[in-house]
Amino acid sequence: MKIPASEVLLLLALIIPVVGSFFIFLCRKFPNVREGITLITGIALFANVSLIASRVFTGERPEFVLAEPFSGFTLSLAVEPLGMLFALLASFLWIITSIYAIGYMRGHGEDNQTRFYIFFACSIASVMGVAFAGDLLTLFVFYEILTLMTYPLVTHSGTAEARRSGRVYLGILISTSMVFFLLAVVWTALEVGTLAFSIGGIYPEGTEPWVLGLLLALFVFGIGKAAIMPFHRWLPAAMVAPTPVSALLHAVAVVKAGVFSILKICIYIFGASSLHNLAVAEWLSLLAGFTIIAASIVAMGKDNLKARLAYSTISQLSYVTLGALLGNSAAWTGASMHMVAHAFGKITLFFCAGAILVAHHKKNVSELDGLGRVMPFTMGAFFIGSLSIAGLPPTAGMWSKWYLVLGTVDAGELILLNVLLLSTLLNVYYLVSIPIRGFFKPLRTPVSGIKEAPLPCLIAIGVTTTITVGLFIYPEHLFQAVSGLVTTW
């Protein structure tokens, strides 16, 4: 069989999930077939993305122009290593999450499962669009579509609470992006005349610093998905969604789309030299530092497990934002690696939270005392996951944090260095403490024997936990992928 050109593969990455969702719709009467299609679509997408990756990491840079809505500004797809990494991450975790979702949705007896799978697939398609966006306009377009596609997932249950959360979700994400992000994009288009990503930034020499500073601020605040304070409220709100959604979308795909956009804009629109000379970049990175600490402190006060994880995510996202804004290669390496490390760590935690919910209907941290004895596997995985989030060995999180710390040192930002270290302590306090309570405190209501979540859930948890540890032991591939990027910066 002739392997098609990379451009076609690129287009297929968008088409496969959409076609998949169409077939899911057709098979809505047969749940088993429907879930089968979800899995097949996931595998096909991952295979497709891997195929692209195998070419991209050997130096090919496929491009594809979709349309040209405004003269000179196109909707186009193009691949560079960072986007490739993001696409690989999202498409791989989609398979895992689908397996998990089958167990969860059935175990939890959710309604409207077909709608759930359809919009899930469409969300993934938009994530692919974000990852492969060839210019700022395309990035913006898919960013918005992603928001809309995840909205039905957030409001899945249709309860009053879900609607309220949906309102916050849509309100913050669309408002910030329509006002700040779009303004920044249009302004850039006017200022530069092009929106295509290019290494070293696109702003011409001699652009007024206040213009650049304002633009950077507009971008950082406009990309609400990166959840920098004060635009973080949507993320805890989104936690009313079913757990697979929180796990993949609100721990990985959506939020990563946010920080990925920021990272990409910092690297390919501003470039390191512009960032270094901007006072605004420093203020914003301090704001990111503030978000890291503040979100951690809020997280401590949350008894609801998913809410605590959500605030932890907010804090972790600012790691990436911070790294992106520092603008040196160590920080960018750290930020890119952190996208991956955090993804595996956090998805494990969410999987565990969902497993606890399905098996024991427990939502709050205070109810988890002694649960380790009933769910040893889940609690063990939770432990590994929280170590990774805290950035401790033997997990992947350690490496990314290492590079981020190096980045702050390189940039001479002592305050931020301390922020990162303090954050580790806070993480230990509010995350690592949970499995410790689970294993060592006495059980509140006695349960006889071991009762774990359905098997698909456990498989998913197993896979992500293994990778979290695996990336600690064998970080070379990830590092190479990222440093392949770094040399081109």
């Binding site: 349309a67 809505p69 918005e144 609607r163 949906g166 329509m178």
Partner: protein, 493 residues
């Protein structure tokens, strides 16, 4: 094969001649068919005219063989060919939808009258657009207005009568203002031909009389245009009119009024004269207020039709904002939004037509949860709503992009922010409706209803699809808008 000049004449005369024929028909369905065929034919004619002016250039055709200052001439250029196509195209699509909707909403003995009024309204709208004679503008304006009062009054609710009356009073005042303005122009220049007036004004401009004429004409058109704060007639009129009439008028009437405004500002008075006066400042304030106030008021509406009507007030604000920038880019954005908004609002009012067809009401309270029973209609509502908000890949986004670009281009920061803030308000009012339609429990379970019939869904989705198509492929819409704006600014192609 008729010559292009004759085609221009047909644009007015054919609907005018078919109107009495339809009037004589007793059978509503036959009347509908004749109207539809006429409207589609006019769309074809308009497209021929547009192709001609784009490739060959503007042309003039005389009525009765009398040359310009004495006779009436029709003058077709890029701007009005574009508007002609919008008007006749929207009329055709809405008419495809009309048969079943009208059969349900209007008594059988009044249906042919309804279609007669429709054709007369179409004649008037096309006439205002195509004519090159200032007084003729007034006449055609009144033809379209009188017939639209009739169309509105045919709504089932008795409030249709009062809102039609209100519109009649306001509309007549507006038209009379325009008449006064034209009168002053006639007194100053001694001619009624627009091109002539403009030529003669260049010698005498900036006298007090001309400025008075300008003020009267702008205020008069403002009334017809529902320019804030002269919009008070619009929400009721759109809310209580028959569904198809709302869709038709929302998609065309205000667009033609905007065209009239442009025609007077740019062609008759001339760019320099108009913008020497504080026109730009006035328009910017009024249109920003329209965007903000119209959207905020829309949030609190309990009737979906009224909600869309107030949203129209806001959307007209966007168009005027484009005009107020006084640049070619702004003008182009305004013209583009004329087209885009016609597609968006036409589509959305047709969606409401589907709801009204099945449930007999557009009241949000009575429709709660009904979205689930009509998934395709509801999906169309969402798609149209997203376009109204200005989400990417819809026409609304394209308009906003062009408008923000134009505003930033001359450094009008706050204007760009107003445009974007309008989107936020639009999310609120669109999403409020979406939530009620989908998530609220069904208010009345006994009424299990099927999806709207295909005959209604197809035209609805045609417009909604156009929304998406023109959100991605903007070659036609932006292309023509650019050429037209250039033509208005410089008088050359």
């Amino acid at each position: 094969m008729a010559t292009i000049e004759q085609l221009a004449i047909f644009q007015i005369t054919i609907p005018l001649i078919v109107a009495p024929l339809v009037f004589l028909l007793k059978n509503g369905n036959r009347a509908w068919f004749l109207t539809l065929v006429t409207s589609v034919a006019m769309m074809w004619v308009a497209s021929q005219l547009l192709v001609h002016v784009l490739s060959v250039g503007e042309f003039v055709t005389q009525i009765g063989g009398w040359a310009a200052p004495w006779g009436i001439e029709y003058r077709v250029d890029t701007v009005n060919a574009f508007v002609l196509l919008i008007v006749s195209g929207m009329s055709s699509i809405v008419l495809m939808f009309a048969r079943q909707s009208v059969n349900q909403e209007i008594e059988s003995n009044k249906r042919s009258l309804f279609y007669t009024s429709w054709l007369l309204c179409l004649t008037g709208l096309l006439g205002v657009t195509i004519t090159g004679d200032a007084f003729n503008v007034f006449v055609f304006l009144e033809i379209s207005s009188l017939s639209s009062y009739v169309l509105i009054a045919m709504g089932r609710d008795r409030r249709a009568l009062t809102s039609s009356f209100q519109y009649l009073v306001m509309g007549t005042i507006g038209a009379t203002f325009i008449l006064i303005g034209i009168g002053f122009l006639f007194i100053v220049t001694g001619t009624l031909n627009m091109a002539d007036i403009s030529e003669r004004l260049s010698d005498t401009s900036q006298t007090r009389t001309v400025r008075t004429a300008f003020a009267f004409i702008i205020v008069g058109i403002g009334l017809k245009l529902a320019m804030f704060p002269l919009h008070l007639w619009l929400p009721n009129a759109y809310a209580y009119a028959p569904s198809v009439a709302s869709a038709f008028l929302a998609a065309t009437a205000t667009k033609v009024a905007l065209y009239m405004l442009l025609r007077f500002i740019y062609t008759v008075f001339g760019f320099e004269f108009s913008f020497d006066l504080p026109l730009s400042e006035t328009l910017v304030i009024l249109s920003s207020a329209a965007i903000l106030v119209g959207s905020v008021v829309a949030i609190f509406q309990d009737n979906l039709k009224r909600l869309l009507a107030y949203s129209s007030v806001a959307q007209i604000g966007y168009m005027l904002l484009g005009v107020s920038l006084a640049t070619q880019a702004g003008l182009s954005a305004a013209l583009l939004h004329v087209f885009n908004h016609a597609v968006i609002k036409g589509g959305l009012f047709l969606v409401l037509g589907c709801f009204v067809f099945r449930f007999g009401t557009a009241s949000l309270k009575l429709l709660s949860g009904k979205g689930t029973q009509m998934p395709w209609t509801f999906a169309a509502f969402i798609a149209g709503g997203l376009s109204l908000i200005g989400v990417p890949l819809t026409t609304g986004f394209v308009s906003k992009w062009q408008l923000v670009t134009a505003a930033l281009d001359i450094g009008w920061w706050p204007v760009a922010l107003v445009v974007l803030a309008g989107s936020i308000l639009a999310i609120v009012y669109v999403w409020r409706a979406v939530e009620v339609l989908y998530f609220r429990p069904v208010s009345d379970d006994s009424q299990i209803v099927k999806e709207a019939p295909l005959e209604l869904l197809l035209p609805t989705w045609l417009l909604i699809g156009a929304n998406i198509y023109f959100g991605i492929n903007t070659e036609l819409s932006i292309g023509v808008a650019d050429v037209a704006a250039h033509w208005l600014m410089t008088g050359t192609r």
